[in-house]
C-alpha cells in the first residue's frame, strides 16, 4: 500500500497532521493503536492562546469550537490555573471570582465529580456555594452495575435527556447566579452544552471529572470524522511494529495487522505519544523508541529519571526523541530525511514548541509545512 505520507499515532498530533495533509491534497494513512492522550484531555490546549488562521480553520471545519481570553479556568478539584485556548464548553474567567452565589449540581451516586472540593475552592474565592445531588430516574439503570456510573456512560444518556437536567436545575435554582455541572455533556451531540447554557437562567460552568474526558473523546471523534471525510485512511487497532530504513530514508512501515503488506510512503510522521501511549518504552536500563529505534534524549542513570516528590516536575517526562531543527528524527546520530517526530514523543526536547496539546499541534503543523514544501 502506497501513500504520500504515513502517520503513526491517531491522537491530537497525528490527526492534526493528517487533516492538514489531506486538505493539501495528499493521500495519507494513520495507524492508531487505541487510546491516546485525548481520552484524558482537560479541554484546554495547554501552552496555546489565540489559534493561527490555519488552526482556527481546521478546528471549525471539524466542528470543534474553541475560545480564548486571558485569565483563569476552574479545575475539577476546586483550584484555578491560567487560561489557555480551550474548547467552547470550558469556561474562562478574567479572575477567579466569577460569581457570588453558586449552585453545584452532581448526579446522585456519581463519585467522579468532586462537588465538595469545588465548593471549598470557590468559597475560598469568596463565593457562597450550595451542593445538590440530583436523582434522575434515567440514570438508575447505570447504578445497577457498580462500575457503570462513569463519565462516558452518563454522557451517552445526557445526549438524550439533557433537557431534563435543564428543567431540574431551573426548579432547584433560587438566587444563585452561577450553576456548576459535571463535564458530561455533548459527547455525540455537540450542541448540548450550548443549549444547556441557553436553558438555564444563570451562568453555567462545566467542571471536569475523572477521565475518560467527555470533551476529549468528543474532540477525538470530530477530528477522526473530519480526517476520514477528507479521504484519509484511519487504521484503528493496528500498531506499527517496525520499519524499513535505507541510507537515512524510511521506505515503509510494518504493522501488526497488515502482516506482509508494508505501508510505503514518501514521508512519515511519528506521533505515537509518550510513555502512556507506548511511543516511548522503558526498561530498568534505558528508554527506547520501539518502531525505528531512534535516539532518545535521557538521563543515563535511572536514579536521575525521577523526583521523589510526586508534585515536582518529573525528569522522565522531559525525555524524548532526538530531532534536528526541522523535526527530523535522529537515529544513531543521523537525521532520517523523511521521518518527522511530533507531539509528546518529543517530551521536553523542544521547549519552544510548548507542552502537551500545544506541543502536539505546533509540531504537527511544522512537520506538515516541511512535507508540503518539498512535494
Amino acid at each position: 500500500m502506497k501513500f504520500n505520507t504515513v502517520i503513526i499515532g491517531g491522537g491530537l498530533a497525528g490527526l492534526v497532521a493528517g487533516i492538514s495533509l489531506q486538505k493539501a491534497g495528499q493521500n495519507t494513512a494513520i495507524i492508531s493503536s487505541g487510546q491516546n492522550a485525548l481520552h484524558f484531555f482537560s479541554g484546554t490546549f495547554e501552552s496555546m492562546e489565540e489559534p493561527s488562521q490555519q488552526l482556527a480553520e481546521l478546528f471549525s471545519e471539524a466542528g470543534i469550537r474553541t475560545h480564548y481570553q486571558a485569565g483563569v479556568r476552574l479545575m475539577p478539584l476546586g483550584t484555578f490555573r491560567p487560561a489557555a485556548l480551550s474548547l467552547e464548553d470550558i469556561s474562562l474567567f478574567p479572575t477567579s471570582h466569577f460569581g457570588k452565589k453558586v449552585l453545584i449540581v452532581n448526579f446522585l451516586g456519581y463519585h467522579d465529580f468532586f462537588s465538595s472540593f469545588l465548593a471549598e475552592g470557590l468559597e475560598k474565592q469568596g463565593m457562597s456555594c450550595r451542593i445538590h445531588q440530583l436523582k434522575l430516574a434515567q440514570l438508575e439503570w447505570l447504578e445497577q452495575s457498580p462500575s457503570e456510573m462513569r463519565s462516558v456512560q452518563i454522557a451517552r444518556i445526557m445526549d438524550r435527556i439533557w433537557d431534563v437536567v435543564v428543567q431540574e436545575v431551573r426548579v432547584l435554582l433560587k438566587d444563585e447566579d452561577t450553576v456548576v455541572l459535571p463535564q458530561v455533556f455533548g459527547l455525540q451531540d455537540i450542541s448540548v452544552p450550548g443549549r444547556i447554557r441557553q436553558g438555564i437562567p444563570a451562568q453555567v460552568v462545566f467542571a471536569g471529572t475523572l477521565p475518560p474526558s467527555v470533551p476529549g473523546i468528543r474532540t477525538q471523534m470530530l477530528l477522526k470524522r473530519r480526517y476520514e471525510l477528507l479521504g484519509g485512511t484511519y487504521l484503528a487497532g493496528d500498531e506499527a511494529t517496525g520499519a524499513h530504513v535505507h541510507e537515512g530514508v524510511v521506505h515503509s512501515i510494518v504493522t501488526k495487522n497488515l502482516d506482509s503488506h508494508f505501508l510505503e510512503a514518501g514521508h512519515f510522521i511519528l506521533a505515537s505519544g509518550g510513555f502512556f501511549s507506548k511511543g516511548l518504552r522503558s526498561n530498568p536500563f534505558q528508554i527506547q523508541e520501539p518502531v525505528f529505534g531512534l535516539d532518545v534524549v535521557q538521563a543515563a542513570d535511572r536514579s536521575d529519571w525521577y523526583q521523589p516528590d510526586f508534585m515536582q516536575e518529573q525528569p522522565y517526562m522531559s525525555f524524548g526523541v532526538q530531532t534536528d531543527a526541522q523535526l527530523h528524527a535522529v537515529r544513531d546520530g543521523q537525521a532520517l530525511k523523511n521521518l518527522f517526530a511530533v507531539g509528546s514523543i518529543l517530551g521536553g526536547t523542544r521547549p519552544e514548541m510548548g507542552t502537551a496539546a500545544g506541543l502536539a499541534i505546533r509540531s504537527a503543523l511544522a512537520a506538515v509545512d516541511q512535507i508540503l514544501r518539498r512535494s
Binding site: 482537560s42 447504578e143 509518550g274 508534585m311
Partner: protein
C-alpha cells in the same frame, strides 16, 4: 475510675500492641492503646504477609520454628478471614545442595512441622509458576496472612471488650513518681490537643521505635534496626508460597496474597535515624528481581507494582552489648526487675507470626503486676470476622446473592462485612475498581475501623493497592472522606500526601507499565484535576 484512668496503657498500634490490647481487654482490664500514626504502619504492614509454618527456622532456630507452627495452627482457627491456606514449597534448584533437603525435613519434623518430600514433577503441577529446573521440593503448611486485617480485627475486638484506641496520637513523655511510671503525656498530631492518661502499667509495644520510647522512660533496650526490602508484583503469579530449600538468605520467599504476590527480602542494618524514612535502593530492586526469577521465572516479565521496606525490631541479648548475639525470638522485659523502673514493660523482638504469643506473654506480665488471675483466651476465641470459615458462606449469609464486590468485601472483612451499608445502590458503587471496594465498605471503614485519612483507608480496604496505585480511587475516596469529616482542606492535603506516598513505592521500580501508569497519574492529577 476516671475517664483518663486505665488498668493498662499500650503504646504502639502494630500487631503486637493490638494483640496485647485484645488479650488484656478479654481478661477484663480497662485498656487504652496509643499510636503515633495509624494501625500497622511499622513492621506489621511492611513484610511478606507470610503465615510461616516455621520451616524456614527449623534448622537454625528450632525454638522459633516450634512457636511458628503452633501459632500457624491457632491463626487458621481464630483469624480465618485474614489467612489464606495456600501451603508452601521449599524448592531445591540445580545450584543448591540437595543434601540440605534431608537435614531440613528432619528439623521440620522435630519441630512438629509437617514436611513432605514431593516429586519435582508433582511440584510443577501443584505450582505451575515454579522454576521448572527444580531438582527437589518439600511441601509444608505455609500460608499467607493479611497483616492489616489482622491488626484491625484485633483492635476492633479490643474495642468490643471496652478498650479505647487513640490513633495519630504521640506519647510526648512519661508521668513518673519516683521510680514508677504512672502514665503518659500525649498530643494528638492533627488537632494538637494534649492529654494525660494514667495506668499502673504501661506496655511498650512499639517495635523498632520501642528503643526511643524506652529511652524516654529512662531505660535502655539494645535494639538493632534491620531493614528488609520487598517488591509487590501486579499479578498473583504463584498460588503456593515458594521458598528456597537452603540456609535462609536474601530474596528467597515468594508469597501470594489477595491479587498480588510479594518477593523478599533483604537484611541490612540501618541507623535509627533512618527508621522513619526507609527507602528501597536500585541495587536491592535488582537483587530481588534476579533472585525472585530463579524461583518463579515469570517474575522477570511481570509488572512490579511497588517497592517497600520495613524495619525488623531485632534485640540483642542483655548480656551482649556488642549485638553479636541477635535473637529473632520474643523478648519481654519487666523494667522493674531489670532496671528498677516499676509500671513499665517492653514487649519486642518476635515476628508477625508470633504476635499472639507475644501478646499473651505481655498480658501475663501485666496481670502479674496487677495481681489479676485470669488466663489467656486468645488462642481459642475467634477474632471478629472469623466466626465463619468460608468467605463465600459469609457473603451468602449477608447478601443472599452476593456480587463480586460483596464477595471481595467478605473475603477482606469476614463476618464484619455485615456492617457494610447496602441500603442504596450508591453504597454498592465501586470506589476502587482494581480491588472491588464499594462506597459502603469505605464508609464502614470510616465509621467502624477508625479510618480518618486515605492512607488509613488503604490499610483497611486495599484502595490504592491495585494496579492503578490510586490513580482513580484516591480522588473518589477523598470525596467520601470529605463528606464524613466536613474538612475539605484536610482531605486535599491528604490526597497530596497519599499520592506522594504511593509514588514513593513506585519510582524505585519506575519503568515499563509502572512508568506508563505513573505518567498518566502524574499528568491527570496535576494538569487535568488540578491538585
Amino acid at each position: 475510675m476516671n475517664s483518663n484512668e486505665f488498668d493498662v496503657i499500650i503504646i504502639g498500634g502494630g500487631i503486637t500492641g493490638a494483640g496485647t490490647q485484645r488479650d488484656c481487654a478479654m481478661r477484663g482490664l480497662k485498656t487504652l492503646l496509643i499510636e503515633r500514626s495509624d494501625i500497622a504502619t511499622g513492621a506489621t504492614g511492611r513484610n511478606h504477609g507470610l503465615l510461616h509454618s516455621g520451616a524456614r527456622y527449623a534448622v537454625n532456630d528450632p525454638e522459633s520454628a516450634e512457636e511458628c507452627i503452633k501459632e500457624n495452627q491457632i491463626l487458621r482457627r481464630i483469624a480465618s478471614h485474614c489467612v489464606e491456606e495456600t501451603d508452601g514449597l521449599f524448592i531445591t534448584l540445580p545450584e543448591d545442595d540437595l543434601g540440605y533437603q534431608q537435614t531440613f525435613v528432619e528439623a521440620c519434623r522435630k519441630a512438629g512441622i509437617r514436611a513432605d518430600i514431593i516429586d519435582p514433577d508433582l511440584a510443577r503441577r501443584l505450582e505451575p509458576s515454579v522454576n521448572p529446573d527444580l531438582i527437589g521440593a518439600v511441601r509444608v503448611p505455609d500460608g499467607s496472612v493479611d497483616p492489616f486485617r489482622l491488626c484491625a480485627a484485633n483492635m476492633l475486638d479490643a474495642k468490643l471488650h471496652g478498650g479505647q484506641v487513640r490513633l495519630h496520637t504521640e506519647v510526648t513523655g512519661f508521668i513518673r513518681e519516683g521510680n514508677t511510671i504512672r502514665g503518659v503525656h500525649t498530643r494528638h498530631l492533627v488537632s494538637g490537643e494534649e492529654a494525660d492518661y494514667y495506668a499502673p502499667v504501661t506496655v511498650n509495644a512499639c517495635g523498632i521505635w520501642g528503643h526511643a520510647i524506652a529511652q524516654m522512660a529512662g531505660v535502655n533496650v539494645g535494639m538493632y534496626p534491620a531493614k528488609g526490602a520487598l517488591l509487590v508484583f501486579a499479578h498473583r503469579v504463584n498460588n503456593m508460597v515458594v521458598n528456597r530449600c537452603r540456609k535462609p538468605s536474601n530474596a528467597d520467599i515468594l508469597v501470594p496474597g489477595d491479587t498480588v504476590c510479594i518477593i523478599g527480602t533483604t537484611s541490612t542494618r540501618i541507623p535509627f535515624e533512618e527508621c522513619d524514612h526507609v527507602a528501597v535502593t536500585p541495587d536491592e530492586v535488582t537483587l530481588l528481581i534476579t533472585e525472585g526469577a530463579k524461583m518463579a521465572p515469570a517474575l522477570s516479565s511481570t509488572r512490579i507494582l511497588r517497592a517497600y521496606a520495613g524495619v525488623r525490631p531485632l534485640v540483642s541479648a542483655d548480656d551482649d552489648p556488642t549485638g553479636r548475639n541477635i535473637s529473632r525470638g520474643i523478648v519481654c522485659l519487666d523494667h522493674e526487675t531489670r532496671d528498677g523502673l516499676a509500671g513499665f514493660i517492653t514487649i519486642t523482638g518476635g515476628k508477625l507470626m508470633t504476635y499472639r504469643l507475644m501478646a499473651e506473654i505481655a498480658s501475663d506480665a501485666v496481670c502479674r503486676k496487677l495481681h489479676i488471675d485470669k488466663s489467656c483466651e486468645t488462642a481459642s476465641i475467634p477474632l471478629p470476622g472469623s466466626e465463619e470459615h468460608s468467605y463465600e458462606a459469609v457473603a451468602q449469609k449477608i447478601w443472599e446473592t452476593p456480587s463480586m464486590a460483596q464477595k471481595a468485601a467478605a473475603a477482606r472483612l469476614g463476618t464484619s462485612a455485615s456492617h457494610i451499608q447496602t441500603s442504596s445502590r450508591t453504597d454498592e458503587s465501586l470506589v476502587c475498581e482494581c480491588e472491588e471496594v464499594s462506597v459502603g465498605e469505605v464508609n464502614a471503614a470510616i465509621e467502624r475501623l477508625d479510618a480518618s485519612t486515605l492512607t488509613d483507608l488503604r490499610r483497611r480496604t486495599r484502595i490504592g493497592m491495585g494496579t492503578c496505585q490510586g490513580g482513580f480511587c484516591a480522588c473518589r475516596a477523598a470525596g467520601l472522606l470529605a463528606k464524613a469529616s466536613g474538612c475539605i482542606e484536610k482531605e486535599r492535603e491528604g490526597l497530596v500526601h497519599f499520592m506522594q506516598e504511593r509514588w514513593k513505592g513506585n519510582f524505585p521500580i519506575g519503568w515499563g507499565d509502572t512508568l506508563r501508569e505513573a505518567e498518566y497519574t502524574q499528568w491527570v492529577y496535576k494538569h487535568v484535576l488540578g491538585l
